[in-house]
Structures are given as structure tokens and as C-alpha cells.
């Protein structure tokens, strides 16, 4: 089994239930978007799936094997977890960060090749403090996917990106989902609708909808959960159209 699965996950903190009996399975070849309002439990769920946060109850399985049985090194090589926040203590260069990301593979790919693949060759020596939000996000994505992990879990990788880079990122994630399990937290419902195959909608620590992207987008639950009204408009999938703008 080459997927990620969680069974009956429960997470509590300070007497509050952050995740309540969540069971989900993610397969290779599917780009899954985790959406939901702030505080819905998306980041906690992703951390549990990545093994960083130990659930109070339930199991996480990677490729059919309990994640607790994986060694840290095995887990690092097989998985690409991209947390939301990154504040390096030292002023690493792009090249150094990508090399570190690649080093979790037993046969690391050459850094130059990875930098070229992500359009970072010219910036290789640039140090972290001198990078824009977009350059940082691209660097971290390059480092995360360097060993070609079969599992990619990304917590809002597009958060600090402008619309152009967000679209580029969406295309990259789509391409990665051809060969890997990809679960991404997305705040941008428009991008989630057009690029994800499947959307899992979370609210107050529970799964309230889990279906094909089109189905979730037209589900009235979406408006209730976000407390908004949506105007839906059919657009071709995977295309770089921007909606939500009006002159």
C-alpha cells in the first residue's frame, strides 16, 4: 500500500478537542486539498499525518506501516513535510538549505541539478535574510522534494506568494501528485477548486465534507463553515485564469 492513512485520530489540548475521530486515506496520484476556516484543525491534522504531533488516540500509517515504527531517517527520506513556519537560526544560503534537504536520501541528488530544476541556480549563494517570501517558499519546496519523496504534506506553501507564484506552485504540486501522495493545506478556495482532485473540508476538528473538488465546492456546507456566500463560476481546470477580480 503506497498511501497515507489515519484512523480514528483524536487530539486534545487544554481540555479542547482539536481533532475528533478523524479517519482518512490518501492515495498516490491524487492532489488533496485540506480546507477549512482558521482553527479548524488543518495544521494539527497535517502535523499528525507527518508524525510531528503524536495523536492522543488513533494511528497514522505510511505505506501500510504504523508511522511509530518508522525510524526518523526512513521517515525523512520517504516523506516531504513542509511546515508553515520556517525561521532558521543561522543565515543559510539557498544552496545550503537545498543540500540539507537532499541529504536525507541515501544517494543525494546533486544540488546544482536541484537548483536548476527549481529555477534557483542564479540565487544559489544568496543568504536566507536576503530572500523574498517567494524565494524562500521556492527554496523550501526544492529542499522538501529533493529526495523525490513518495509522500508530500505541505502546510499552506503558497501563503506568502503573489498570484503568479501561487499558480506556478499549484502546477508544481499537480505534477508532483502524478507520482506521490500530495496533501496540501489551502486557504485559496479558487486554487483548491481548480487544481485539487479531492477536497477535505474541516470544521472544529471534524471532517464535514470529503469528496471530489467540484462536489465540495458546490456543497452548501462550504458556505456555512466559512460563513460566506460564494458565487460559483465554471472554469477550465489547471488553467491560469484568475477569478474573483472585478473592474
Amino acid at each position: 500500500m503506497s498511501g497515507v492513512e489515519c484512523r480514528s485520530i483524536r487530539v486534545e489540548a487544554g481540555g479542547k478537542r482539536l481533532l475528533d475521530d478523524i479517519s482518512l486515506a490518501f492515495a498516490k496520484g491524487t492532489l488533496t486539498g485540506l480546507v477549512g476556516p482558521n482553527g479548524a484543525g488543518k495544521s494539527t491534522l497535517l502535523r499528525v499525518l507527518a508524525g510531528y504531533h503524536r495523536a492522543d488516540a488513533g494511528h497514522v500509517l505510511w505505506q501500510g506501516r504504523d508511522l511509530a515504527d518508522w525510524s526518523a531517517a526512513e521517515r525523512g527520506a520517504a516523506g516531504g513535510y513542509l511546515p508553515q513556519q520556517l525561521e532558521p537560526a543561522w543565515n543559510y544560503s539557498i544552496e545550503e538549505v537545498v543540500t540539507l534537504g537532499a541529504s536525507r536520501s541515501t544517494a543525494p541528488r546533486p544540488t546544482a541539478e536541484l537548483l536548476a530544476e527549481h529555477g534557483l541556480s542564479d540565487l544559489a549563494a544568496r543568504r536566507w535574510n536576503a530572500l523574498s517570501g517567494g524565494e524562500r517558499a521556492r527554496t523550501m519546496l526544492a529542499a522538501t522534494v529533493a529526495p523525490r519523496p513518495g509522500i508530500i504534506l505541505a502546510d499552506e506553501p503558497g501563503a506568502s506568494l503573489d498570484i503568479r507564484h501561487r499558480l506556478d506552485l499549484a502546477h508544481r504540486l499537480r505534477a508532483l501528485a502524478e507520482t506521490a501522495v500530495v496533501v496540501v493545506i489551502m486557504h485559496d478556495l479558487d486554487l483548491a477548486a481548480r487544481f485539487c482532485d479531492r477536497i477535505v473540508l474541516l470544521d472544529a476538528g471534524r471532517v464535514v465534507a470529503d469528496a471530489a473538488a467540484e462536489a465540495v465546492i458546490s456543497d452548501p456546507e462550504l458556505e456555512r463553515v466559512f460563513n460566506i456566500r460564494l458565487q460559483r463560476q465554471a472554469l477550465e481546470r489547471d488553467r491560469d485564469w484568475v477569478i474573483g477580480l472585478s473592474a
Partner: protein
Amino acid sequence: MKRALPLLLALSSALAFGAMAGHDWASPGRLFSALSGDTSLQSQLLMVWRLPRVLAAALVGALLGLGGAIFQGVFRNPLAEPYLLGSSGGAAIGATIALLVPLGLPAGPALAGLSFLGAWSATWLVLAIAGLHGRPDTAGLLLAGVAIAAMLGALRSFLMLALSDDTVNLQVVLSWTLGGIQTPDMAGLALLSGLVVAALALSLRLARGLDLLGLGEEQAFAFGLDPARFVRIAVLVGAGIVAAAVAYGGLVAFVGLIAPHLARWWTGPRHAGMLPASALIGAAIVCACDGIARAVLPPAEVPLGLITALFGGPFFLLLLARRLRV
């Protein structure tokens, strides 16, 4: 290698300065003839007394440089010092007991052994307190370390007051807690060299983990590190190194702060290069400061820790000011 050369040159200069400095200054010519086998009394004094002391200073400095680099890496904080974790304080308690309590053990091994024991148990205590509620985070470790270090300092002063009598010289303990390199015999020098080699080898094994930890705990986890386990191991290695430095050189302040800082500036933040650089810089600093300590108030010797604190204090304040500005 290109980056190592200036550091080696700096260390060589510091060694030469250390060998010349003292209440009786040795000219380069005299140093050279002593090294080339001259048997005059002056040359023998240089070879038997001064050179082992200079080498011991360099080796203690290397240990301080490595220990400091490991602690800064573990805490992900360029202002971290081994003293913050209580390691030095623990080592000092062990050494104070060894110096003041008649244990019936040979003095050298008792001092080294109890220093190790003190540093390790103090560090364990800090880790245990910081980890009471799950994963020990950096802030928790630092706060626990500061509290333990303060308590250990008070306990050491109490022990010094309570245990000293006419038979033990409080002056010896006091000058030791202010830092000072003893002149070792050949066996002591060999043991110290062995410790430095082992410390460097162990540190280099931690290099990749320290690099990853520098990205942040969660990112380090994502890149295949078990941060809690790694921090435990790295802190223990660091504590061991600091204990060895304290056992041989007393409490020498600020070298563990300055050496890693300069090393990071010189080689960049990757630890595979930065750790050996920090050892070389620490060696050069202690060697030079020890030379100054011997030469500045002849025939008396100023405690080494005073010299390093005089130079290191302003450096620390400068770093702090720069950090507060940004």
C-alpha cells in the same frame, strides 16, 4: 582548506606569542634554540614548563570552542553559552568538592571525574525539568539552565565557605574558579590531547544534526531528525566537552561564546566546517589570553578567566546591542 589556512596561521601566532610571553620574555631566537635541542637551563625551563602550559591552553581553548559551538547549535541561539545550561556550574561544583573535601583519591582523577559527574548531572537535571511537559523546547531549556546555574553558583560559594579550613587553601579554589591553566606533565598533556581528538570526532558526528536543527525543530523533524533524541545526545556530548575544559582550565568565561561566533562568520553556518574552525579559534584565543595572563603583572599571574572576561564581555555586549537593534 583555503579558509583553514588563516586560522592555522592565527593559532601558530598565538602559540608563538604564548611561548614567548611570561614574566621572563623569551625572544624568538631563544625559542628557536630551545626547540632545536639546546640544553641550557633557560631552554629547558621553556621546554619543561612553558611549552606544555601553552599547549594545554590551546587544547583547553579548543574544547571551549567546540563545547560552545555545540551549545549554540543545540539552542539555535548565537548568544548561548555552556554556562547557560548549568554544565559549567555543575562541573565547577564537582571540582570544588574534589579540591576541598579530602576524598582519599588522587587529586587529578578526582578533579576530572567529579567535574564530569557534576556537568553531566547538572545537564540531566536541566533536561529533565525542561522536558517535564513533553518535548523540551529551547526556551524551557534556557530558563531551566539559567535557574540551575544560579543555584549551583550559590551552592559552590556555600561549599567554599563551609568546607575551607586551615588545611585547604581557599586561594587555590578561588583562583581556579576564576580560570587558569595548570602546567601539565607529559601524561596529562597526552590525555588532554586525546580528549580534544575525541571531542572533535564526536562533534563532527553531530554536524548534520546541528545543521538541520538550525532550520528549526519542526523543519529538522521534517528532514528526518528526531529532535528530542538528538538534543539529548548533543547536550550530553557538549556537557562532557565543557566538563573536560573546566577540569583542565577552571571557569574560563566567554570563549565558548566568541569562538563559535567568529567561526560562523569565517566559514558560514554549516557545522562540518564551523566546528573545527571554532576549535582552532578557541585554541588561539585561550593561548593568547593565557600569555597575557602570565605577562601582564609579573611576577604574579592574573587569572585567565579575568582576561577572557575583559575581552569577551564587550564582545558579548556588542553582539547583544546588534541583536537588539535588528
